[in-house]
């Protein structure tokens, strides 16, 4: 009976499957394939056969033009990867914890709850480039931030600002724009928790903090896992925040791309007259591998800590 009706299911799935095959599966596999081609030309498809050199070039182990040491690409290992890791391991924990605290707070207040929810959700419907422009005004040399702390003249995002200052603003910006979605998910998760658990806890004279720690967070752990994994992936793919805030890949002019993220690096390979498709592909596969490893680790941890 089941096998007979199978074709119907496939028929219904077909539009989605076909589109996904063309626009998702094929590019995915092709990227992997291209990353192993030597001197790939994306217009003609011509190449000089298989090689592992593309990975070597991305990781800064092999010279781009054989024999010339200066042609080594160091920006991936030196800047793109560290920056991405910093962004990930700073913004994700901070924004998840902050979102959790705000969501629990929102859930507990009765007064003006809806208004506050709207306020916290505003960044989500705001364009990230627009937010970037607002941040660049706030953090300009004579901006609000400097005035507020009486440190007028400190450079944060203008050309010539230190790398640390720039990263600080970048992380702040990413955290701020990442909050609303997380708060939304957490708030809806919180509303799904049976109120009786809290009544039971109240009768047992549990403090507010302990209730949050021992009851709310464990019961919210599926949502926390989901948010953590998706925001880890998102943070690894961070690119448009840099564009939105700086619109460049360097803090001071001098051809040092110290604001690179992995995806920024990949995009830059495709720039110009002679796009290095195979190197971009190799970079993408490396990123894929890193994300894969982290996701697997998180899933493994979650098996012990998440309660469904």
């Amino acid at each position: 009976m089941e096998s007979k009706n199978n074709w119907k299911a496939w028929l219904y799935l077909a539009p989605a499957l076909i589109l996904m095959a063309v626009f998702t599966f094929y590019p995915l596999i092709n990227t992997f394939f291209i990353s192993f081609l030597k001197n790939y030309d994306y217009r003609s498809g011509a190449n000089d056969g298989f090689t592992f050199d593309n990975y070597g070039i991305v990781l800064g182990l092999v010279e781009k033009i054989p024999g010339i040491a200066e042609s080594k690409v160091t920006s991936f290992v030196q800047y793109a990867l560290p920056n991405t890791l910093i962004i990930t391991f700073v913004t994700v924990p901070v924004s998840v914890i902050l979102a959790l605290v705000i969501a629990i707070g929102l859930n507990n207040i009765k007064w003006c709850q809806k208004i506050f929810q709207t306020i916290f959700f505003m960044p989500y419907v705001t364009n990230i480039i627009a937010i970037g422009m607002v941040f660049s005004v706030i953090f300009s040399n004579n901006g609000i931030f400097n005035n507020l702390f009486g440190i007028s003249g400190t450079q944060w995002i203008s050309v010539g600002a230190s790398w640390g200052n720039s990263m600080f603003v970048l992380c702040l910006y990413i955290i701020w724009s990442a909050l609303p979605y997380k708060i939304l998910i957490f708030t809806s998760g919180l509303q799904g928790i049976d109120k009786q658990y809290y009544e039971a806890a109240k009768i047992d004279s549990t403090s507010k903090f302990k209730t949050a720690l021992k009851i709310t967070i464990p019961l919210l752990s599926p949502q926390i896992l989901y948010i953590t994994i998706t925001s880890f992936i998102g943070a690894f793919k961070e690119y448009n925040a840099v564009i939105g805030l700086f619109n460049r890949s360097y803090t001071s002019s001098g051809n040092v791309n110290d604001l690179y993220t992995v995806v920024y690096f990949i995009y830059d390979q495709l720039n110009g007259n002679n796009p290095q498709m195979q190197i971009a592909a190799a970079g993408a596969v490396v990123l894929f591998a890193i994300i894969m490893v982290f996701t697997v680790v998180q899933m493994w941890i979650s098996k012990k800590k998440v309660h469904y």
Binding site: D194, Q196, E199, I203, D204, S221
Partner: protein, 579 residues
């Protein structure tokens, strides 16, 4: 603990704009529940019984009225300060915690004030006592073997059971015995005990036989007391005082020092007072003031357990030291195990609630409510999630646990059978009003209104429309019985319990009987259940239970009625009419 509810009322505000009237969920609920009683709040859904329970728990604030636990007004007390245990309708067990952690959770918040004890010494003592018979321990460990293998977890569980001790002690026992070097363990323990005791000795602290710490005795002079005593003595007799003041400061001070054997500074202070007290009015004021101060200080020291000698020497005997603290892991463990034993869930402690059956979950919920030894246990429809067989079993379980612990228990249910079978007293509610409160059998035998009569009993009471006329009770044109009191003619409802019907003997009183049209006969073994019709019956079918020996046929049958199974109610007020 006795619970008194006085005029308890809960009103939920309506919405005037949408023309929703206020809802009075509980209306003027006044009931006293005696200490150690199991009381059932019984009523149809929406009668306010759960609301009452939650008000007692403190989770809902009453609109008006008072709640008293013994002599304490707890109406506005926070729920956590009331000392109650509450079992929710769907148990509200924390799904992410094991049964053990669920039961232990209330204890982790508990703070107790008690005498300071040395738990290390206590556990050493217990271990050494058990180790006096190491063979027994070894046997217990061997018995715990599962598939021929002894595991530490299993052995610890068995030892906990056997010696009623915590798992930490059990683990120590296991470690000592399983390596076969009990001797060494005992020696080591004795050394540790000695070391601890000497440390206490150095601090001047002693221990009693319950391992409670006793502070060292204190004996000291209080300068303040001494000063006040001297001042009082001098001020007592005015003439002597005036004589004393005549001399210069130096001589007076010397006199004081000689007379009272006090220090220079005290003498100076006393002199100042005397100099100020030469006038009559000021003398009186000062005399009163200092004697008051002296009395107050004495009372203060007495409250702190001091004995005052010679008026100024403070003495305090060795006494237990008090401490407010959280429970230790050991205590929590033993309390959890005790509660688990009580409700028989010892074997499931390591499971998650989702891995338990409904009945087991319910027992876990009761254990969690009982573990902190509440003064009141509140149960909110605890059996409604269970299947019929389990329900029977569990309700007896609840009764057993309640009897064993002697906790005043309030039990909310809509199942009259449940309430009747286990409660000491039942309170029947309707629309927020208390209809009747009494022993279950009394309420059944002697209902005071139609609602209560209808609510209790399976099959339910059969209600007929009838009338009182000329000293007789009539259904249709049949006389049912005679009234003994003089009652004016009026319309009434007549309730007859299903077991109140007898086959009318043709020969005897054929006049006082009720003719019913039997449509169905259901044999139920011991009894016959008859389904009948009657034109004056309020409802669908009349259900009668008669003895199965009787020979009943379908069609019109005449029934005599047991007089004590007839209840008469006013047709308008539905109040009981005694006839």
């Amino acid at each position: 603990m006795e619970i008194r509810l006085i005029g308890l009322t809960k009103k939920f505000d309506g919405d005037k704009k949408k023309n929703i009237p206020d809802t009075i969920a509980v209306n003027n609920f006044t009931v006293t529940i005696k200490d150690g009683e199991l009381i059932g709040l019984l009523g149809p859904s929406g009668c306010g019984k759960s609301t009452t329970l939650y008000m007692i728990a403190g989770l809902k604030e009453p609109t008006s009225g008072e709640i008293w636990f013994d002599d304490e007004d707890v109406t506005h007390l926070a729920p956590e300060k009331r000392g109650i245990g509450l079992v929710f309708q769907n148990y509200a067990l924390y799904p992410h915690m094991t049964v053990y952690k669920n039961v232990a959770f209330p204890l982790t918040n508990l703070r107790v004030e008690e005498n300071k004890k040395d738990f290390k010494l206590m556990s050493y003592d217990l271990i050494l006592k058990i180790l006096e018979n190491p063979k027994e321990v070894n046997e217990a460990i061997l018995e715990s073997a599962l598939n021929g293998k002894v595991t530490k977890v299993g052995a610890v569980r068995v030892l906990c059971e056997k010696y009623h001790c915590s798992k930490y002690i059990a683990a120590n026992l296991f470690n000592a015995c399983v390596h076969g070097d009990e001797e060494a363990y005992i020696k080591k323990s004795n050394e540790s005990i000695k070391a601890r005791l000497t440390r206490y000795k150095e601090k001047g602290i002693s221990l009693n036989d319950k391992f409670e710490l006793l502070s060292k005795p204190i004996e000291k002079e209080s300068n303040e007391l001494k000063f006040l005593l001297i001042a009082n003595t001098v001020l007592e007799k005015r003439k002597e005082m005036l004589l004393l003041v005549k001399d210069t400061d130096e001589i007076v001070i010397n006199n004081l020092i000689q007379k009272f054997n006090c220090s220079n500074s005290i003498a100076k202070k006393v002199l100042k007072i005397i100099r100020k007290s030469t006038k009559e009015t000021e003398y009186e004021i000062n005399k009163k003031k200092y004697s008051e101060q002296y009395c107050n200080l004495l009372a203060k020291y007495k409250n702190h357990g001091f004995i005052v000698k010679n008026g100024f020497i403070l003495k305090k005997d060795a006494s237990t030291m008090k401490i407010v603290r959280r429970l230790t892991k050991d205590e929590i463990d033993s309390m959890v195990r005790e509660a688990a034993r009580l409700v028989q869930i010892q074997d499931y402690l390591d499971r998650k609630p989702s891995e338990l059956s409904g009945g087991q979950q319910q027992r876990v919920a009761i254990a969690r409510a009982l573990v902190k030894k509440p003064k009141v246990l509140l149960l909110d429809e605890p059996l409604s999630n269970l299947d019929a067989r389990l329900r029977l079993q569990t309700r007896e379980e609840i009764r057993r646990i309640q009897k064993e612990t002697g906790i005043t228990t309030i039990f909310v249910t809509h199942d009259q059978e449940e309430a009747m079978s286990i409660c000491d007293d039942i309170v029947v509610m309707k629309n927020g009003l208390v209809m009747e409160k009494d022993h279950p059998q009394e309420v059944y035998k002697d209902p005071n209104c139609l609602f209560v009569a209808k609510f209790l009993g399976t099959p339910p009471i059969n209600v007929f429309k009838g009338r009182i006329e000329d000293g007789f009770i009539w259904i249709g044109d049949e006389k049912i019985t005679k009234t003994t009191k003089k009652i004016e003619n009026k319309d009434i409802f007549i309730g007859i319990r299903p077991e109140g019907f007898l086959m009318a003997d043709e020969a005897s009183e054929s006049k006082k009987c009720l003719t019913l049209n039997v449509t169905q006969i259901l044999t139920m073994g011991r009894d016959l259940s008859l389904v009948c019709n009657h034109k004056d019956f309020c409802g669908e079918n009349i259900k009668i239970i008669v003895d199965s020996d009787l020979d009943v046929k379908i069609g019109d049958v005449k029934f005599a009625i047991r007089p004590n199974k007839i209840y008469v109610f006013d047709a308008k007020t539905e109040e009981r009419i005694m006839f």
